[in-house]
Amino acid sequence: MAGAAVLGRLTWRAADVVGVATETPRVKTIAFDVDGWPGHLPGQHVDVRLTAEDGYQAQRSYSIASAPDGARIELTVERLDDGEVSPYLTDELRPGDEIELRGPVGGYFVWEPSRGGPLLLVAGGSGVVPLMAMVRRRAALGSDVDTRLLFSSRAWDDVIYRDELEGLNGDGLRVHHALTRSQPPGWSGYARRVDAEMLAEVGPAPSERPQIYVCGPTPFVEAVAEALVELGHEPLRIKTERFGPTGG
């Protein structure tokens, strides 16, 4: 593992907003140039700190969406209506603004193409963000590691990175969508919540010993992890990252 990316005392750094892009009606991607950014591994996150004029501070963690790219990082943020931080990030930030962040943090929920595969990625909603960093890193390095992404969203218009994922599909990456609430006319993908039968159809068999990464809301992660163990996957090969409803 790249020591520079994980070692050392954390310091708050100035991050300049250099771009804001709309992913879905509730989700935006914000690009930052970060002063002194040491680089990161796919799956790591940052802590973001906002300070009000009266000194009140709020802090949240966000996964890094982008593959390593110099001083540039992208965060994809879902707006939670009663959130303290996410509405500011998604509604107020403009290029030229500055916020504080520190990182990268985390080393458990990370994957690099050098770790090999096969790889099974299971995402619920904005849980796709750290998995997208892995998919992008894989593509950037021209890796052909057998990778399956099973991505659960509520509806087609809620699918984050939809067009980019369509473009990346192939070269050993297979993207499967499950739409749980509504489906477009003629939909041929899954139209229910992720379950054991779906995981068995999409994923490498337990005998292939895939590395598995699951990220999403806590109930989603619990259900998927339980189904994977039921199918015979080794618990130690299943890495999970849960985000609670208070993450906003």
């Binding site: 070692l7 954390l10 985390g106 458990y108 806590t218 109930p219 999970t240 990252e241 609670g244």
Partner: protein, 85 residues
């Protein structure tokens, strides 16, 4: 299952602030049941602070409160902690 439950990844920044090394890959042994897990895999509950619980027996491994420039840690439920340095 508690919908508010998080995992050890949620305290990665806080623990790195204290220990100055990446801590989610550190391996802890539960003082209750003896199971070993990466810190990133333990269950975490957030209130006034954080409580890290064993994913197998729910023993409280660590309680961590950060306030006013200090971090207070109760590690009485943790038998050992193995850290890469």
């Amino acid at each position: 299952m508690d919908a508010l439950m998080l995992d050890g990844n949620a305290v990665a920044g806080l623990l790195q602030e204290v220990f100055t090394v990446e801590m989610t890959t550190a391996i802890g042994t539960c003082g209750g049941c003896g199971a070993t897990d990466a810190v990133g895999a333990v269950h975490v509950y957030r209130g006034a602070g954080f409580v890290l619980r064993c994913p197998h027996c729910e023993t409280a491994l660590m309680k961590v409160v950060a306030a006013e420039g200090r971090v207070w840690m109760d590690c009485s439920g943790l038998r050992t902690l193995e850290v890469s340095v």
